[in-house]
Point group: C2
Chain length 395, copies 2
Amino acid sequence: MPEVKPSLANQHNQQLANVLPSPIRVIDAEFSEIAGLIKLTLGEPDFAVPEHIKQAAKRDIDNDDSHYAQPAGHLELREAISNYLVNRFQAPRYDPNNEIAVTVGASEALFATMSGLFNPGEKIIIPTPSFPMYDAIAKILGLEIVGLSTAPDYRLTPEKLAPVLEANPDAKGILINYPSNPTGVTYDEAEVSALAELLGQRDMVVISDEIYAELCFDGPHTTMSKLLPEQTILVSGLSKSHAMTGYRVGYVAGPQALMQHVTKMHQFLVTTAPGPMMAAADEALNNGLQDAEEMRDAYQARRDIVQSGLEAAGFTVARPSGAFYIFAKIPEAIGMDDMAFVRDLAKEALVGVAPGLIFGEGGEGNIRLSYAASTEDLEESMRRIQAYMAKKLQA
Amino acid sequence: MPEVKPSLANQHNQQLANVLPSPIRVIDAEFSEIAGLIKLTLGEPDFAVPEHIKQAAKRDIDNDDSHYAQPAGHLELREAISNYLVNRFQAPRYDPNNEIAVTVGASEALFATMSGLFNPGEKIIIPTPSFPMYDAIAKILGLEIVGLSTAPDYRLTPEKLAPVLEANPDAKGILINYPSNPTGVTYDEAEVSALAELLGQRDMVVISDEIYAELCFDGPHTTMSKLLPEQTILVSGLSKSHAMTGYRVGYVAGPQALMQHVTKMHQFLVTTAPGPMMAAADEALNNGLQDAEEMRDAYQARRDIVQSGLEAAGFTVARPSGAFYIFAKIPEAIGMDDMAFVRDLAKEALVGVAPGLIFGEGGEGNIRLSYAASTEDLEESMRRIQAYMAKKLQA
């Protein structure tokens, strides 16, 4: 346990210091101390990786796939990604050779994309509430973040987007995410099309994080890459669709002129992704569409439990059409801000949820509940929350 | 195959654009086109991962370790790293809880360290010839690189280091690497101690990349972390010691005051490393010391083949005491620079080696040969090189 030389104790990246440590994980760690608490804080599927996918990873290990893969990843996996995106979402046919890069989860995909394409001081629009890592990476890179609150219904519309675009004609990019973490909101083809039309009038890179694309409950997913291919960088991965979070396989697809920089940056970040985990992803995309459907159906049933449960408890919820989150407005009568509320709920009702303010402007006054949990835990949580709310609202 | 919107074709990180794509891989790709060529360009062990390590990874997959690990990695692995460093190298006992982070290979370890600890414009000393990624990452981060050529014997000594330190009292860090890629040079305890004493007089972070520590042929490895713990950030990994390049497991260890920033940066880069690959690393460190020894002995025998082979062919070699590279000076009489030479050698003698200039100042006029290749290929390469040289020197 070496002590640092005192003169070095303050040597660190100043931009990084301005970023809070992942706030969801801080809250989650706090709640881990409370005995008997049901934690619905993290976006972590409770499913296991399907057996045939595990077998594929094990076969790959047996086959000694332990040498460096190409920087952009196994070519077979890039081919599988290209085919999957066309067949499943009618995306453009991305060239596996130079328009797709396999990354270490969607996290590295986002970092490689944002650091590969933008320069310090350049403006990027990040609609909120959103995944806190977007804001963090942009800050670390010294980008100028342009906010855009989608409250109160948490839907990004041309009406909300147009004035921000007009006020920021020099913005170089926008980072959108649907189905949304933390709101569960998603868009149908007409809605995506309206956004694409507006964004198509601007010279702006559209980073579209569609990691929850397989988890759409009320209609098919429409990818931005289909409607605005010449401006879109598509970010996705296997973590949510196949419960493969711990395998860390993500990807980026886009026009070669942009992807050359993303792939180059990726190479300097991690060299390449681990081979056996890529083999698992290859199997998931080639032979695992059914798995994603089964998980989606399970999440949908859980969505119904928490939506009706929270509405019965007095919350107003954004229509949760995808992902595995529900974003719910705390009734005014409760008289607590969301941070105080989630701490009180954890202590009194033994249910852990995330406070809305950590997802940025517009999130305050809400809770985010992740329903990537067992049906039993969700039903018990609803009973606890309803009892707690009844008591509070009576008082 | 979408075409980019023409107005976006030039949207990219300008610092990144100043960095060449990995030059070793460019050369390697060029040589891949030549039929019958023996490639000795990349630093890629030809061994397979030992069977018990593969079994550990497969067991971990079977045990459904497919959820997010803690950001710094499996705690058991961090404990194994801490114990290994103490037992094997008498390193300080790093606290697994906050002084060690598991990364996606040593590449990500370097990126997380350099981006976590330094700010644009800050000076970092990078002795050369060195692994080109050091220079690339420093450039991407906007650091000011202070050069220090270790030619002609490629040993970093207090005599070479002192004037550079004096001329740069404001340097915030230095990045050293031993056993060295590309030269194979390493240092005994007295030599490391002399460097540590000099560096200890400065307020400077010492990033010590010791990824080849298990591959020392002429004496034990001395870690900088033992001699200068209060300033050292130790970077290492399993890629070279256990032929696990494709599994991508590296790590960083250092005083908590510095590690907190490295670990935080790591989290924003990749969230965490993949679980099954960490389980493999855990097994390697707990039960695989013998594997590393066997590989070292094999490399040592190959080192002898290429050292005597190249000397017989007329090259002057830096004493290659570690890693699996030999750095050899092209005889003046050949009359070609190293880039022309390696291209001619590839075409005429069907042996692919890397030109010294891609490793930075002091490297020009040399070749780097990686002897992480089969004994048969190395023996045949020596025959080809000797025949080629005899012909050239006769002409």
